[in-house]
């Protein structure tokens, strides 16, 4: 064996990694993966749109005081859709990558963990934006809903905020829940939480004792922030909703970080 064949590859690497490119590619392929996984893309986009068509458009001429019910429900289903994309994309996605050993192989590579997390989060935001855009298009075309440009931009901004917030919950679920049970467990948390926060049916139409549960749920605070764009929020102050949502996000991230480090040490 020629000596040069041994020494040459052992010399220090001369090229450099373009970190920005790693983030871009990681994000692009994460998004492509989700888009091509029909079970994910069809259900996360399809369900909120279908529900809105069934329940939102049916209320195109319904008003409660000066609240246009179809517009109110647009806010609710926008939250329902973006939360689903974040919980399923990250909760179920990361859990299955952990179980399959794929995440371990990626961790053995020089991939920055931040690129992995960024890609997941950015893809959840992208899906949230797609869902909210489709819902808005349906609402304005068939639901008799009118939105100002400012309202639309604020809605999309709130979609990004909500996606990041619930991405953190998805991450925690992925660390806690076994992969084969993840879809079922996510549904068991996501569906009742959405219902109890008034994402499907406006809270004011629900029994009084059920309305009392809502403020304990992060979904409620997100939906109130979304509805505040239209001036449809409840009596609670916006600052409370922001604090609750930020507190929830930090709690989820903190717990994820704790569990992850605990596992690292025990692994």
């Amino acid at each position: 064996m020629a000596t040069s064949a041994i020494t040459q590859p052992l010399s220090a690497p001369t090229g450099s990694v373009n970190t920005l490119r790693v983030f871009r590619k990681e994000t692009r392929y994460e998004f492509l993966k989700l888009l091509r996984a029909k079970s994910f893309s069809l259900s996360t986009i399809g369900f909120p749109v279908m529900f809105y068509v069934l329940f939102g458009i049916a209320n195109r001429n319904a008003f409660s005081g000066n609240i246009h019910i179809a517009k109110y429900m647009l806010g609710g289903y926008a939250c329902f859709g973006l939360i689903g994309a974040a919980l399923f994309g990250i909760g179920v996605g990361v859990a299955s990558e952990l179980a399959a050993g794929w995440l371990e192989l990626k961790r053995a590579s020089p991939m920055p963990v931040s690129a992995y997390l960024f890609a997941k989060c950015a893809s959840a935001c992208a899906f949230g934006l797609i869902i909210v855009s489709i819902l808005t298009a349906v609402a304005t075309a068939f639901g008799g809903v009118s939105l100002t440009a400012t309202e639309l931009i604020k809605m999309l901004g709130m979609t990004v905020v909500g996606s990041i917030s619930f991405a953190s919950m998805g991450l925690l679920l992925a660390l806690l829940v076994p992969a084969n049970a993840a879809p079922a467990i996510v549904n068991l948390i996501y569906l009742p939480m959405s219902f109890l926060s008034g994402l499907w049916v406006p809270l004011r139409f629900m029994p009084h004792w059920l309305q009392g549960i809502a403020p304990a749920l992060p979904t409620y605070h997100l939906s109130q922030l979304m509805l505040s764009i239209f001036g449809y929020q409840d009596s609670m102050s916006l600052a409370t909703h922001w604090n609750a949502l930020i507190g929830f996000t930090l709690l989820m991230l903190g717990l994820s970080w704790l569990i992850f480090h605990r596992r690292e040490q025990n692994s």
């Binding site: 064996m1 590859p9 690497p13 090229g15 373009n18 490119r21 392929y29 053995a108 590579s109 020089p110």
Partner: protein, 314 residues
């Protein structure tokens, strides 16, 4: 012990492999102990990898082979002891750019194409191999546009191999690289591992197939219950595990044969005698001198499999 394993044949094959001169190790586990609760996965294990060599880590299920690789990759932390790769912590990003790994993975992202997987993994490394080279080395030409879920078992393994080499690493860990492959694909992968070795790469592979260790490795490390129980070239391992066997028809008595140097066992049966000896040449020379009627002589080296079984059974 199989009769077809003729001694000089296996000895010669082993001698032909270029054994690199030992120098400063590029990766080493030093006195590593790894405990999971009450179970001891790795027990005061030390091993070193030298530049350019192919080392096979052999052991039964649960011996600690995968744990050893994960310790070298910095994926798990040792309870005590140190793991060093290229002189530094294996968890450091700069170390990881020089290491490639093929782990036992159930599946990778199923909806991404071969080309896309390579594109993503290449972006992690400062000096990746060109895509055409990777496709050629891992024999993935013609299936670049298939998604992972469309690949056969062998093709999936080849893609995982491609991911291990795409960053042009100097050190490559292959955890059971040929498990579940048919004979043809297995031999093809052996060719690829030899190719890496010829390019000066250091390879550590774990395997269940002793034939694989015998043909590929410069050095074999046998581990069991988290400890190294034997280490050396494949032929040294065979020799350590009780030497070679001599079969013949002879008039010499059992008592006499047992007194010859290096003889560990003598057994007579209806087809003659079977003598096991660490120094077969000396014993045969003595036997031929003492018995002119000696006939039907055969000298066999134990297959690595027999050596392995002898070493790991306790």
């Amino acid at each position: 012990m199989p009769l077809n394993a003729i001694a000089y044949e296996t000895e010669l094959v082993a001698a032909e492999l270029p054994v690199p001169v030992p120098r400063q190790p590029i990766a080493a586990l030093t006195n590593i102990t790894k405990r999971y609760g009450n179970t001891l996965a790795v027990d005061n294990l030390s091993l070193a990898l030298h530049p350019g060599e192919v080392v096979a880590l052999l052991g039964p299920n649960g011996a600690g082979k995968s744990t050893a690789i994960k310790l070298l990759l910095g994926l798990i932390a040792p309870t005590s002891g140190t793991s060093r790769v290229f002189g530094s912590d294996p968890r450091e990003a700069t170390t990881r750019t020089r290491v490639g790994a093929m782990l036992q993975v159930a599946r990778i992202t199923e909806t991404l194409r071969v080309r896309e997987h390579l594109d993503l993994f290449r972006s992690y490394y400062p000096n990746p191999l060109p895509v055409v080279d990777i496709l050629r080395i891992a024999q993935l030409q013609g299936i670049e546009d298939r998604t992972f879920s469309q690949l056969s078992g062998g093709q999936k393994q080849r893609l995982l191999f491609a991911l291990a080499i795409c960053g042009n690493p100097d050190l490559i860990f292959l955890d059971e690289p040929t498990v579940g492959l048919d004979i043809e694909s297995r031999r093809a992968l052996w060719g690829q591992i030899r190719f890496l070795s010829a390019r000066g790469k250091t390879v550590l592979l774990t395997t269940h197939y002793l034939e694989e260790a015998d043909t590929l490795a410069h050095r074999v490390i046998v581990i069991n219950k988290g400890r190294v129980i034997s280490e050396g070239t494949p032929s040294e391992i065979k020799r350590n595990a009780g030497g070679r066997t001599i079969r013949c028809h002879t008039r010499l008595s059992q008592e006499f044969l047992e007194t010859l140097p290096g003889v560990t066992s003598v057994a007579f049966n209806e087809r003659g005698v079977v003598v096991t000896a660490s120094d077969a040449e000396t014993v045969v020379r003595e036997m031929l001198m003492r018995d002119e009627t000696l006939s039907g002589l055969e000298i066999a080296s134990p297959a690595l499999e027999d050596a392995f079984l002898a070493l790991t059974k306790n």
